[in-house]
């Protein structure tokens, strides 16, 4: 039996599917998905440009979830304050490309800088705290997230750095010379609005990020993360510098968050501390956990579901209530949060490994058999 084929059996995830599919069916399936993804923004735009924006936000959340997946899914570190890195990246971008300080650096300079700053924050936070046990790490990261938010909210005096609760507006969009991502253009008879342009850019970057994640997962580093997650003492005994490896995961996750934050700032054109509250950290963590912690595709699914379903709810529940009761009895936002909380509890009770579980996680969460 060839070793390569053998490995696919235990790794599961994407490779597991491809064994059983005929080569033809696999390519046809992929082609269909590609066409659907390429055509999606126009389909959505016909319903309303708002839906393209929702799709863009969904992709950003997928980014965030993949970044957090490295920390939580691969390395097994509980981070409840992940949104802080998103915030850092967003504010870094906003401060360097808006009228606030009157700096207008190009996006290809700022995005890497945002990633670097976020990475730095990640290292600063991680270095003293990654040695803590699981729940303590969770609380510390939560505290860190809140501290960042409070500072963002208050650093408007005596020197106005963040403009406090009002946030920073009129943030520059991405620009390539005269090609601006925020302007609508018509090409080949199709109308490319700003959001649609961003969609394609985001989709491209997302594919890149997915590839990076998959390659990391099945590499020497990915294995080292698994080892640390399984048994840190044994991992150390085998020569793995667990502290550095954990810090690496943390820093990488933070960098992803920073990049996503920068893009968020440019796309939305406006940011404020309100976008970076605790519930957002919980949301991203839920996307990872509910989708399937450690499984890249599971995480993608989780992020897409948790981004779109609330929006769908809002568009259906509101009119439904109006037609049944004549008015909105329960705001969609409240319904959304109630369902979300319920989903968290139910998932942990009945399907803790997530919708698309990673093979290893499923084993971890299975009842231990008698040896």
């Amino acid at each position: 039996m060839k070793p390569g084929a053998a490995k696919q059996g235990t790794r599961g995830g994407t490779r597991g599917v491809s064994i059983f599919a005929q080569a033809h069916a696999k390519w046809v399936g992929l082609a269909l998905i590609a066409v659907a993804l390429i055509g999606l923004p126009f389909a959505l735009a016909s319903v309303g440009t708002a839906w393209v924006r929702i799709a863009n936000l969904a992709i950003l959340f997928v980014f965030l979830s993949l970044g957090l997946n490295i920390v939580v899914g691969f390395a097994g570190l509980l981070d409840l304050g992940y949104i802080a890195f998103y915030a850092v990246g967003a504010y870094a971008y906003a401060l360097l490309a808006s009228p606030h300080f009157n700096l207008h650096l190009p996006f290809w300079v700022i995005l890497p800088m945002g990633a670097l700053v976020a990475c730095l924050f990640g290292v600063l936070l991680g270095a003293p705290t990654l040695k803590l046990r699981g729940d303590y790490l969770a609380i510390v990261t939560l505290g860190f997230g809140e501290i960042v938010r409070i500072f963002l909210n208050n650093l408007s005096q005596p020197v106005n750095i963040t403009n406090g609760p009002q946030g920073i507006s009129r943030i520059d969009p991405f620009r390539f010379g005269s090609f601006s991502f925020s302007q609508t253009e018509t090409l080949l008879g199709l109308v490319f609005s700003g959001p649609i342009k961003y969609y394609y850019l985001l989709l491209l970057l997302l594919l890149l990020v997915i590839v990076v994640n998959l390659r990391l997962q099945h590499s020497r580093i990915g294995r080292a993360w698994e080892a640390v997650r399984e048994d840190e003492i044994a991992a150390r005994a085998m020569g793995i510098d667990t502290t550095s490896i954990k810090l690496l995961a943390f820093a990488m996750g933070a960098s992803f968050g920073g990049v996503a934050g920068g893009m968020f700032a440019a796309i939305q054109g406006f940011i404020s501390p309100e976008s970076f509250v605790l519930v957002e950290s919980v949301m991203v963590l839920s996307m990872v956990v509910l989708g399937g912690m450690g499984n890249v595709w599971g995480v993608v699914l989780g992020a897409v579901l948790l981004s779109f379903v609330p929006e769908l709810l809002r568009y259906t529940v509101e009119p439904l209530q109006k037609s049944l009761f004549g008015r909105s009895v329960i705001e969609p936002e409240v319904i959304r949060m109630l369902l979300f909380g319920l989903a968290l509890v139910l998932m942990m009770l009945y399907r803790p490994a997530g919708l698309l579980p990673s093979v290893v996680r499923k084993r971890e969460l299975a009842k231990p058999e008698e040896m």
Binding site: P3, T10, R215, I221, G222, D231, I240, M371
Partner: protein, 261 residues
């Protein structure tokens, strides 16, 4: 090049008020199979943990291949050539046997984030080499057929052998085994003995904690006897076996009866 691979001098280890190890000193020569025996609670695993960096000693220290290693972290010590197994088996339970051994290769390989993401030629070659070596080692310890099975579902004896394969993957100079024969029947123990002799023949020095006296007698060149944290005898097993202090430690009182064979 000196004969001694590991030299330990006057090692103390305290836990609160308990002196778990007191002035323990011994040396292990290259190519030896060196046994560590003693009644339960004598401090054998504590000594192991001190030698592999899990505990820091309170006094004294040890030198390995001429270098002072006391105070280093476990991963640093593993990098310098001491690999160990655990009394209670610490495999990466939810991973496959193959993955377990491949992880053992981590310390001797280099591919980092960039190599992994960019799939450079060097990275791909190293990955193939890691897998190849891991499969070889699984075959070496006799569980090649189980390469893709989940570690915690392996039969007990195979789990112990997997742990040894994983330790060997780190290319140790000294292989430290904590009760490798625990729970094994006579046949398995014999196979283990043959395996360890093969390991020694391949140039690796072995230190092992064991309670199975038959194995110790048949396998070890020399043994160290610990009792209440002190070394009370060191030497070839047959001599140590007859040492009255050793007999007293095991059997208590003025017992001068026949040794366990």
């Amino acid at each position: 090049m000196s004969q001694a691979l590991l030299e330990c001098a006057a090692l103390d280890k305290r836990f609160g008020g308990v002196l778990a190890l007191a002035e323990v000193g011994f040396s292990i020569n290259r190519g030896e199979i060196y046994g560590l025996i003693g009644p339960n609670g004598a401090g054998k695993t504590t000594l192991f943990n001190a030698l592999t960096g899990i505990y820091a000693s309170d006094a004294g220290g040890f030198r390995f291949a001429g270098e002072a290693l006391s105070g280093l972290r476990p991963d640093q010590i593993a990098a310098r050539g001491i690999a160990r197994t655990f009394q209670n088996i610490r495999l990466f339970g939810n991973l496959s046997a193959l993955d377990n051994v491949m992880i053992g290769r981590h310390v001797r390989t280099r591919t980092g984030v960039f190599g992994a993401v960019l799939r450079t030629r060097a990275a791909l070659e190293e990955e193939a080499a890691i897998e190849k070596r891991a499969l070889e080692l699984l075959g070496y310890v006799g569980i090649a057929a189980r390469a893709n099975e989940v570690a915690r579902q392996l039969p007990y004896g195979d789990q112990r052998r997997l742990e040894i394969a994983r330790a060997l993957a780190t290319e140790p100079k000294l292989l430290a085994l904590d009760e490798p024969a625990a729970g094994m029947n006579a046949t398995e123990t014999l196979e283990l003995k043959k395996l360890l002799e093969r390991v020694r023949a391949d140039g690796i020095t072995i230190l092992l904690i064991e309670h199975d006296m038959k194995l110790v007698m048949g396998l070890c060149d020399r043994v160290l006897v610990l009792d209440y944290g002190r070394s009370i005898a060191e030497g070839p097993p047959r001599e140590v076996q007859r040492d009255p202090r050793v007999i007293e430690a095991y059997l208590g009182g003025a017992a001068a009866g026949a040794s366990t064979a």
